[in-house]
Symmetry: C2
């Protein structure tokens, strides 16, 4: 139980020759063999205490940092890490409550298995990513990639266990997510059953082109993010089942999942004539922004306007009606699939969703 200060002081004698630290196990093996030194570190019970002691002393003296993890990894054939790939900038990912919830679950699984979580940046622009190719990991978890994103091919090329979360579903490969059409429909149906007939929709994450503005049918249906596309399909289906013409539902698309973007969408939608009595959003953050817009306009929620979010990731405080998505469980499950002996039979696991009704929705007045 050496304290770092002590250790630091202890080796300060040779601190002048910083570059001369012994790095090879070989160097320690002066009057013993390489194998013995290896045992001293990795299998202490395979040699006498005295010898081990002596070896450790020499190690300290020479400034040996212990067995090189990379070499060890190579030899042992395991990396001790789980790779996580995400379509967005990492900074963006960490700002998204849903993603963070998912990370929590995944991290829990990694933690339990004693492996690290290697978060891999995916150069967003044109620059080719060597990240996936070079990642020292035992498996990959891919989250929320747009259809045909090159990183997906790169991941599969590594021939390691892979689990895809949320999107895109690749038949024959493990997948964890929710039943998007059903979840979307549940959100829409809730409003329809309350009696709303003038709906508006605000969605983020459909396309990668950074477009913010009205979205026509063609754009909606050609969204490159499968899960969001499917969720929207659920909205539409519920409307049509209720006899509502989807063509009459104003649809606003934003490029970033931020409160500000939600507010902008809210203003656009609420500026329509006739004004919608209810707005569907595909994230809680967006919904919060819509609430801001309503406040700006002096509209009372839910009296004048009903708002539904999605994911239950930032909804509780604001009393937002939303569809709960078991984000933590999804992350944890994905992790366990990857870490507990690999992915046996490719499954398409759909976690349950749940409509949570709070105070942001009510019948139209």
């Amino acid at each position: 139980m050496r304290h770092h200060i002590v250790r630091h002081a202890g080796s300060s004698r040779s601190a002048v020759h910083l570059s001369e630290y012994a790095s090879r196990i070989r160097t320690l093996a002066r009057d013993v063999s390489r194998a013995t030194v290896s045992y001293a570190f990795s299998r202490p019970d395979q040699l006498s205490d005295a010898l081990r002691q002596r070896i450790m002393e020499v190690a300290d003296e020479l400034g040996y940092a212990g067995p090189n993890p990379t070499a060890r990894s190579l030899r042992l054939g395991r990396a001790g890490a789980l790779g996580l790939i995400f379509s967005e900038t990492l900074a963006y990912a960490f700002a998204d409550p849903y993603a963070v919830g998912f990370f929590q679950g995944l991290a829990t699984a990694a933690e339990d298995a004693g492996v690290g979580l290697l978060i891999l940046p995916l150069p967003h622009g044109d620059r080719r990513s060597e990240t996936v190719r070079d990642a020292v990991v035992d498996a990959f978890c891919v989250m929320s990639l747009p259809d045909g994103h090159p990183a997906l091919a790169e991941v599969f090329a590594r021939r390691l266990p892979v689990v895809v979360v949320d999107e895109p579903y690749v038949p024959g490969h493990p997948f964890v997510g929710i039943d998007e059409p059903a979840a979307g429909a549940a959100a829409a149906r809730h409003l329809l059953e309350l009696g709303h007939r003038r709906l508006g929709v605000a969605m983020v994450g459909l396309h990668e082109d950074g477009h913010t503005g009205w979205s026509d049918r063609a754009r909606q249906e050609s969204a490159t993010f499968e899960a969001m596309r499917a969720r929207r399909g659920g909205y539409q289906r519920a409307c049509e089942e209720a006899g509502l013409d989807w063509a009459g539902v104003p649809f606003y698309e934003v490029a970033r999942n931020s409160r500000e973007a939600g507010r902008k969408a809210g203003h656009a939608l609420l500026g329509r004539e006739p004004r919608p009595t209810a707005i569907l959003t595909n994230t809680d953050v967006l919904a919060l922004g819509v609430l801001d817009a309503a406040a700006d306009l002096g509209l009372a929620v839910p009296a004048d306007l009903s708002v539904v979010g999605f994911s239950d990731s930032a909804a509780e405080e604001a009393g937002l009606t939303t569809v709960r998505q078991a984000k933590q469980e999804i992350g944890e499950k994905a992790g366990r699939l990857l870490l507990s002996g690999g992915v046996a039979k490719p499954e398409r696991l759909l976690f349950p969703h749940e409509l949570i009704v709070r105070s942001s929705t009510a019948p139209p007045s």
Copy 2:
């Protein structure tokens, strides 16, 4: 630009012999040499297109996944990853807005450098951590570890570049954080200057013993988390400079940084006779909980009670007065120090803090 589906289909012919994928570059080197194959992958411009093409074909046919990243790492002497060590459970870390803000900054730096961010779990219980020893990384960022935590020694033992963030400061090693005593004093002074004389304090993250309850002077001063200890010292100094006896300031300590814990602390403090007119907390989340407690008791904020948070990580929405800590910048700086050519001269970098006055503080009435 092969799509994964195509590639998958393409190799399905040999999908029966899953275990027979070629894994060594050697196997591809049938009528060419190993070096040539290596070049085909890592230095495409060093050989004819035709040959490269042929090699790639053979690779595809044999199911060769490309150069083994671990072996590559070993040979090249670089891991392509930055290790991050955090004292808490990962799930807990991701739930903490300050930590997440810091992660964002660090991740941005990692992203720019094209390296991954390896988040290392630190078994919280007794179980020894092999995580640090085995991590395949080029450098370590250590965040918020309690004094003398064994992981710190393990990190230094790796003899890789290390930057410590927030705590504990190790003289002679790079450090990034804020001037805690000054920041704490600024928060307290704000209340004192408003005219408050009956203060209460709620803090989290002082000790690791899970204690929730009143905290006496001895406990306060022996806190094992240096930054929080220093921050508290700032509170005390400001009070004493204002002629307030610190012994008369009720001090409540909680074990978890949650809104619920803050509410509990709030109730404890507000139940005192005479009731404090202002409460200092060392996180925004805690402060939010104190606001909840005030609401429970029907106290108006700031009329009946002033509350100050810390970090400006969850304060804006609630109109909370707080001390802004440049969490993103801190993370980014730590990352850049580690990634841009290592850490030259050990520095102790203190980022500026800033008192942000919002609507949760006012003179006592």
